[in-house]
């Protein structure tokens, strides 16, 4: 890779050990992907849950945090993805004091690096959306695919260590979706029916992702006539990224960049959406936990859950879990939405997102097996943690939570 004078100084350790580690890490990754040089980034977003970090990851952060202030502070605005523990509700979820303690250590280390603990995977709805052409270093696949596609930002999937490295150096290797030639559509899909709710938008994204099947594939989806709204594209993109590792899609006339694809279109209609949902159906099954998260809920989704729960009561043998970002949770508190959900028996969490919160340990502590959610992304992730997931609309999720079993 071509390095400028400042990059060579960082690599030589002249700007301190944290920036030396960061640049060396980035050169290793950049060389692997044949990056010619670095590109400056305006923001970084770091995956920060302690289940992923582990003791080794937290100890690594603490080592960086012990460096002199001038050497350890991040160079661009840097925010965090959801954490593993919400101190207000962790005991109700069967999480342990040890989990809360390691979270506190990680948070202290991140703060010492000058990182803003936003604890959110919907920063594109709540913090500072990027502009078209803006190079960023985002973690969380849902954040990357939404920002690349809807806004026309330029980011690769940056895992925690790489996003942290970008924050410390203010740049990232120029490969993948930072380059024009990789942003052209390579796969063609046609949506022949309009999804009826967020679960179906997620199902549609999952079908596209599964068929595209690679980080390096760029789907173009036509047949979507009217803008479906931010929450619909949030679930659509998050599921596409989860099922296919996809980082960019185009919907001509709706997403940011003009796009065309000469390949024959793979058609997705009512039958395909119904078949996708049917694969997760479990009629009559007892329901252990109903989850509204993954991605965290927008304020509009929080209001929809509160409306659906009004005058109802969650079954005593079922847990209803709702999670959003600290910003949205604060607004939900102020607007009375949290109180309405809690009055129905829901657990309303802030700054976490179910699968990043020691999901396996929660299943064990609570005896949870059958999980119902309107997140296609979550049904894809959670089976590895020992859950049996069902995908259903928001209304069916609430019905299941109240009845304690699936209809």
């Amino acid at each position: 890779m071509r390095l400028c004078e400042e990059e060579r100084a960082m690599l030589a350790g002249e700007l301190g050990e944290p920036r030396r580690w960061a640049l060396a890490h980035q050169v290793a990754v950049g060389a692997f992907f044949d990056a010619a040089d670095f590109v400056p980034v305006s923001q970084a977003h770091i995956m920060a849950d302690t289940e992923s970090l582990g003791e080794a990851g937290v100890a690594f952060l603490e080592t960086l945090a012990a460096a002199p202030a001038a050497e350890r502070r991040v160079r661009v605005p840097t925010i965090t993805d959801p954490r593993g523990v919400d101190p207000r509700v962790y005991r109700r979820l069967g999480q342990s004091d040890a989990m809360a303690a390691i979270e506190a250590r990680a948070a202290a280390a991140f703060a010492a690096l000058g990182i803003l603990m936003t604890d959110t995977c919907i920063n594109y709805q709540t913090i500072l959306p990027p502009l078209r052409g803006e190079h960023v270093a985002y973690g969380d696949t849902g954040v990357v695919i939404y920002s690349n596609s809807v806004f026309g930002a330029r980011s690769n999937f940056e895992g925690g260590p790489s996003a942290l490295a970008a924050a410390l150096t203010g740049r990232t290797p120029r490969y993948g979706y930072h380059l024009d030639e990789n942003r052209r559509a390579t796969r063609h899909f046609r949506l022949e029916c309009t999804p009826r709710d967020l679960a179906e938008w997620g199902a549609a994204g999952a079908i596209v992702g599964r068929a595209a099947g690679s980080y390096w594939a760029v789907p173009l989806i036509d047949g979507i006539e009217a803008p479906p709204g931010s929450d619909a594209l949030k679930h659509f993109g998050a599921a596409m990224a989860s099922f296919g590792s996809v980082a960019l899609f185009h919907i001509p006339g709706i997403t940011a960049e003009p796009a065309a694809c000469d390949e024959p279109a793979l058609r997705i209609g009512r039958a395909e959406l119904d078949a996708f949902l049917a694969a997760y159906a479990a009629p009559g099954d007892k329901v252990d936990v109903v989850v509204f998260a993954a991605p965290q809920l927008s304020l509009v989704e929080m209001a929809a859950v509160a409306d659906a729960l009004d005058g109802r009561r969650v079954h005593p043998d079922t847990t209803l879990f709702v999670s959003s970002s600290p910003e949205v949770k604060s607004a939900a508190d102020r607007l009375g939405l949290t109180a309405r959900m809690e009055a129905a028996g829901a657990v309303v969490a802030s700054g976490i997102c179910f699968y990043q919160s020691y999901a396996g340990e929660m299943a064990e502590a609570n005896g949870w097996k059958r999980l119902v959610t309107n997140s296609a992304k979550l049904v894809n992730i959670i089976a590895g943690y020992g859950y049996r997931p069902t995908l259903a609309s928001l209304d069916r999720c609430v019905e299941a939570a109240v009845a304690g079993r699936l209809s």
Binding site: H25, F32, S52, D140, F157
Partner: protein
């Protein structure tokens, strides 16, 4: 003379070990019980099998960004694959391998999950972009 497969230059140290092969994909969060060191996702082709100390030969990297932190913690706890040999990885697996110091190679001339069989003894040289199948002659 052992069978030699060429690939793109990779990441991490040269290693020698036994292959565990499947035409399936990989995410540390989605697919693994990282305490027991086994594939835990019921629908994964390697469900129930131990990955500890094996050279994983798989198709693509899938799923979220968690693998980038998780490989490092798995390596620190010494319940980790010896190396990763893929047809094509996404940035997360490359970043995770670089951070954890785990050997990783990808981009072969053919389908590496067909070229290598479970139980093959492999020598991987990431810097050279080379995988030798020691128990099979060219």
């Amino acid at each position: 003379m052992p069978l030699v497969l060429s690939c793109h230059p990779g990441i991490g140290p040269a290693v020698e070990g036994i292959a565990l092969v499947a035409r399936d994909n990989f995410s540390a969060r989605y697919d693994l019980d990282r305490k027991a060191g086994v594939f835990s996702r019921p629908s994964h082709a390697l469900a129930g099998q131990s990955y500890h100390g094996r050279i994983l030969v798989l198709d693509q990297a899938k799923g979220g960004v968690a693998t980038a932190w998780m490989l490092h913690d798995m390596a620190a706890r010494r319940i980790v694959p010896l190396a990763l040999v893929f047809n094509r990885v996404n940035p997360i697996l490359a970043q995770g391998a670089a951070f954890a110091g785990v050997a990783l190679v990808d981009r072969f001339a053919g389908d590496v999950t067909a070229l290598i069989r479970t139980g093959d003894r492999l020598r991987i040289d990431p810097a050279a972009g080379r995988v030798e199948v020691l128990n099979r002659d060219f």
